[in-house]
């Protein structure tokens, strides 16, 4: 990472007449495109030579911080190591140069990749079957809720449109429910950060016959395992609802417990969190959805199946209108190259090592928590799972906020934790180390966090003014939102 801002835009390097491409000669003869169908003006795209473009993006990359640069303790994001072998497998030309609508006999290898990952995810979660079509976690949530509503509709129970969601949930949960046409019923958390069972009972009593589902992440966003899960699932099932597992926090459960055994019916997981595929600055991700036995017919199509020793695609005939057997959440079989990476990761670890993922990540989280709780306010004591939440510095008299601590961490070469989430605590700071981090890395982070606490006491201004050594200092996001400039054309017109 370069701590000086590079700062240029490719448009500013453009010089009319330059070229960075070479194409074969047009040997097909000229065919005229009707002039009424042509755009009036060319798109104002840059004109550069090849090396200028390569240097530009290389320089841009050096103003970025990735997992390969250093520790990335972002809570609920599971920023684990992205092994190069996965990249090598995803770059194979045999996976890149195939069209999704080729004859199935010519893509048996690709179909097997999909099928093998479906089976592996079933093994790891206890679900009967998976779809790999959703492209992200939120996309998986929406898909899962669609499956749940399809199930209720098939039973002629289509008025069920209420979804119970804890107040500590990821923001995507209520948003996905709303997109799926459901109403959200928020269930409170207790003082020790778990679902308030009495509140849940009351909500269900108030809605005896329209609960579609309850969405939960377990461990929850405070990093706490919901111990009442058997009783919660029973309560919701007795009321006719299904249990949805948000797999954003699945990592600590690997090797220890499976969502299906906790009583969940439908779940998604994130290949870009739990299964080591790179986040890529915000995608492409992948959000496979698993279902328990009986719900398979509602999985979106197309879906990969195995018949004898051949792989096949399940895709019912098109009908004139929507049917529950014809849920579609994307045109093909999902983000295939992300799926290749995840399978490569699972095969590399194998059944022996994947069991250690959960326990090692939990050990790391508890180690940081116990090492820092003298300086940072730990609102909920006891064992955490893969992550935990501090409510800012213990000593609030310095006026140093969670934002300040997060920004100061950047100066020391660490990515910031997730901040101001969950909403239950004003100064929330959510820390998640993964199983890949060594004791030396954790000790280094702990020392820096202690240092920052000390700075906050002795020299608070240096923390409040952080970061100081990054390419840029804090940004004016009010200005950005008040007078949005979203394109180069708008910028140039200023």
């Amino acid at each position: 990472m370069n701590n000086k801002l590079y700062g240029k835009l490719i448009f500013e390097l453009s010089h009319p007449g330059r070229r960075a491409y070479s194409l074969p000669k047009d040997e097909f003869g000229s065919h005229e495109l009707p002039s009424a169908m042509r755009r009036a003006e060319d798109a104002a795209l840059p004109e550069c030579d090849e090396m200028t473009v390569v240097r530009h993006y290389t320089n841009l990359s050096e103003n970025n911080f990735g997992v390969d640069n250093g520790f990335y303790p972002l809570g609920s994001c599971t920023m684990k190591y992205n092994p190069p072998i996965n990249e090598e497998m995803a770059a194979l030309s045999a996976f890149n140069n195939i069209h999704p609508l080729q004859p199935l006999s010519t893509v048996q290898g690709a179909l097997q990749v999909e099928y093998d990952l479906q089976r592996a995810l079933s093994a790891l979660t206890g679900m009967a079957d998976f779809t790999l079509n959703p492209c992200a976690g939120a996309h998986g949530e929406l898909t899962g809720l669609m499956i749940i509503r399809s199930y209720h509709e098939t039973r002629g129970d289509s008025r069920r449109n209420k979804v119970i969601i804890p107040d500590s949930a990821h923001g995507t949960n209520p948003a996905s429910a709303a997109v799926c046409g459901c109403e959200v019923l928020e269930v409170k958390s207790t003082a020790d950060g778990l679902v308030d069972f009495d509140d849940l009972k009351q909500i269900i009593a108030d809605h005896p016959d329209d609960i579609a589902a309850m969405m939960m992440t377990n461990p929850n966003t405070l990093g706490l395992f919901e111990r009442d899960i058997p009783a919660i699932t029973k309560l919701v099932h007795d009321a006719g609802g299904l249990m949805y597992y948000d797999g954003a926090n699945l990592n600590p459960m690997l090797g220890v417990a499976r969502p299906a055994d906790m009583g969940f019916d439908v779940m998604h997981l994130n290949l870009h969190k739990t299964f080591s595929t790179p986040h890529g600055g915000g995608g492409p991700g992948s959000g496979p959805v698993g279902v328990r036995e009986g719900l398979e017919p509602f999985l979106p199509k197309p879906h990969v199946v195995k018949n004898g020793d051949k792989f096949d695609i399940e895709q019912p005939e098109r009908t004139d209108s929507y049917t529950v057997e014809n849920n579609h959440v994307g045109p093909f079989l999902g983000n295939f190259l992300v799926i290749v990476r995840a399978l490569s990761y699972i095969l590399s670890l194998g059944k022996e090592n994947i069991k250690m993922v959960g326990p090692l990540s939990v050990l790391n989280a508890n180690y940081i928590k116990e090492s820092l709780k003298d300086d940072y306010e730990l609102p909920i004591h006891g064992l955490c799972k893969h992550e935990f939440v501090f409510n800012g510095l213990k000593d609030k008299s310095t006026g140093v906020t969670t934002m300040d601590v997060a920004k100061r961490l950047l100066d020391y070469g660490y990515h910031a934790p997730t901040i101001y989430f969950p909403l239950l605590f004003h100064e929330a700071m959510m820390i998640e180390p993964t199983e890949n981090e060594s004791k030396e890395t954790l000790d280094g982070f702990i020392e820096v966090m202690h240092n920052i606490a000390k700075e906050a006491r002795e020299n608070p201004e240096i923390v409040k003014g952080a970061p100081h050594t990054t390419p840029i200092s804090r940004v004016d996001d009010v200005e950005a939102a008040k007078h949005p400039v979203l394109t180069f054309r708008q910028l140039a017109a200023e």
Partner: protein, 128 residues
């Protein structure tokens, strides 16, 4: 301490309405602007739109939050404060002077369901 003005009517979602004849001037309270922080955008209805008491008619956005605007009264929008389109920060400067919409009241009896200044002040104190 947030400013509260006598003679206005208040909602639990922190809107106020000031009544002149049959026209109600609606905005968000000082308490609300303070809680939101720097306002960057105010989403307003069009003139002649109908609004209903308790129903959403727009939203106020800051960088880190967004809050729906709920109308204290029912009626027809007769004016919107166009100054807020370019300068949403006016709401932070003086939330009472920089109203959002004016509504022709269709049912003045709805005012009876709202809080007066004293009740609202107490309501705000209990929020903390």
């Amino acid at each position: 301490m947030a400013k509260v003005i006598e003679g206005l009517y208040y909602t639990e979602s922190h809107e106020y309405v000031k009544v002149d004849g049959n026209v109600g001037t609606i905005g968000i309270t000082d308490y609300a602007q303070n809680a939101l922080g720097n306002v960057v955008y105010v989403d307003m209805p069009d003139v002649d739109d109908e609004v209903e008491a308790g129903e959403e008619f727009g939203a106020v956005e800051s960088v880190k939050a967004a809050s729906d605007l709920n109308s204290p009264v029912s009626g027809k929008v007769v004016e919107v404060n166009e100054a807020l389109e370019d300068k949403p920060e006016l709401v932070n400067q003086d939330a009472f002077a920089n109203w959002i919409i004016k509504v022709e009241l269709s049912d003045p009896s709805q005012l009876d369901d709202l809080m007066d200044a004293k009740a609202y002040e107490e309501f705000c104190n209990n929020q903390q």
